[in-house]
């Protein structure tokens, strides 16, 4: 996957593949909050970041602080876009 061609839907799908099945069943969309809507905890957030790195080739570690501050799916999308 080329990072220049990663769509929002693809990022949402990557996140959905990483979170708990119960939360993923409802689908993942940009306006959702990571913790409140998707039940993301510390390890899940790390998992999302590592899977995004693997599948999109982004430079995660130039953006660690942004990931730490991410509150919503849209925030994650924004960090990926900026990477």
């Amino acid at each position: 996957m080329n990072k220049g061609h990663v769509s929002d839907d693809e990022i949402c799908r990557i996140i959905a593949s990483t979170i708990a099945q119960k939360a993923a069943k409802k689908g993942v969309s940009p306006e959702m909050s990571l913790r409140g809507d998707l039940g993301v905890d510390s390890l899940t957030l790390m998992s999302i970041v590592f899977v995004l790195e693997e599948k999109t080739g982004i430079d995660v570690f130039g953006r660690v602080e942004e990931f730490v501050r991410a509150e919503s799916v849209a925030d994650i999308i924004k960090v990926v876009r900026q990477s």
Partner: protein, 317 residues
């Protein structure tokens, strides 16, 4: 509870690598790495370490104050455990860390109090440093970390307890497991009992008591008038344990605490406060008065006993 921000967070730390030696952080990272690898994720220890380090980026507590404001937290107690005796890769001395905490308190007037830790094995110099922090800097209590290698009723701690008793200051101690580079067995809550009996004028707070040794901690809170519990750690282990704790008849002993920045990846301080209601931490039988005790009144009562500060306030009138 009214909308006026008045929550007191009784358990927080300065989010900076200077406060946590590399070996301590490394142990935490090892546990995270094992968990992530077991899920088949493409991780390396180095990457997990960098992600973890991303939570320790607020050395002056500017971001914490923003998040406290969002969450309705009026004051936070900054805990300064002394790892520098047990872990020799500390980047700063305990004297330097005390000075740094003073600087943060002065930077944000009225928002922070400090419980200072000095490892009792530092001897006379350590005791002098502790007394200076209490008397000259007006720090508000003592922080102990038994996994570094001492028990809460160890004779070495008694000179420190004498100072706390003299000024009516609380002592807060870590309880239970922690970074795997330290000792777990020594950090059992029962070891507070002799000290609590010998110093009835000191309030002892057992940190993480809703998740570590909850039955033993509740038994101590029920039966020793001067033993309390803070709930930090609920973020990781769910709120069911908290719900149980609130039904044990010790709501006058339970203190709110977040353990910032340990759970920073779980969300902002506001979401950690809101999580309590959303996830059913409070039993239906719990009164508003009990909630107020939990969120700030118990903390205010303990902090309000400080004789140095009350003498200062009286003199100012």
């Amino acid at each position: 509870m009214s909308d006026v921000p008045k929550i007191i967070d009784f358990h927080s730390h300065i989010a900076s690598g200077m406060c946590f030696p590399q070996s301590f952080q490394g142990g935490v990272v090892d546990n995270m790495t094992v968990a992530l690898e077991s899920h088949g994720l493409p991780v390396t220890r180095e990457k997990v370490a960098r992600m973890h380090a991303g939570t320790l980026t607020d050395p002056l507590c500017d971001e914490l104050v923003v998040q406290m404001d969002e969450a309705g937290i009026a004051e936070s107690v900054l805990l300064l455990p002394d790892f520098t005796y047990a872990l020799k890769d500390s980047t700063h001395t305990i004297e330097e860390l005390v000075e740094h905490h003073k600087k943060v308190v002065e930077r944000h007037p009225g928002r922070f109090r400090v419980f200072v830790g000095v490892d009792p094995r530092w001897g006379a110099d350590g005791l002098a440093l502790f007394e200076k922090a209490i008397v000259d800097y007006r720090f508000d209590g003592m922080k102990l970390y038994p996994p570094c290698g001492y028990r809460l009723s160890d004779d070495m701690l008694y000179p420190y307890y004498e100072i706390c008793a003299q000024y009516s200051l609380p002592v807060l101690s870590h309880i239970g497991a922690t970074s795997p580079v330290l000792d777990f067995e020594i950090a059992q809550p029962i070891y507070v009992d002799k000290a609590a009996r010998d110093f009835p004028g000191i309030d002892f707070v057992l940190a993480h008591g809703s998740v570590h040794y909850p039955d033993e901690v509740a038994m101590l809170c029920n039966n020793r008038p001067n033993i309390y519990v803070d709930v930090s750690g609920y973020e990781a282990f769910g709120t069911a344990a908290l719900n149980t704790l609130f039904r044990r008849g010790i709501n006058h002993k339970i203190l709110f605490g977040t353990d910032w920045p340990v759970f920073r990846l779980q969300g902002r301080q506001k979401s950690l406060v809101e999580k309590l209601d959303k996830e059913g931490a409070f039993p239906e039988s719990m009164t508003d008065a009990d909630r107020d005790l939990f969120f700030y009144k118990n903390a205010a009562r303990l902090l309000g006993k400080n004789k140095l500060k009350s003498a200062e306030a009286a003199a100012a009138l």
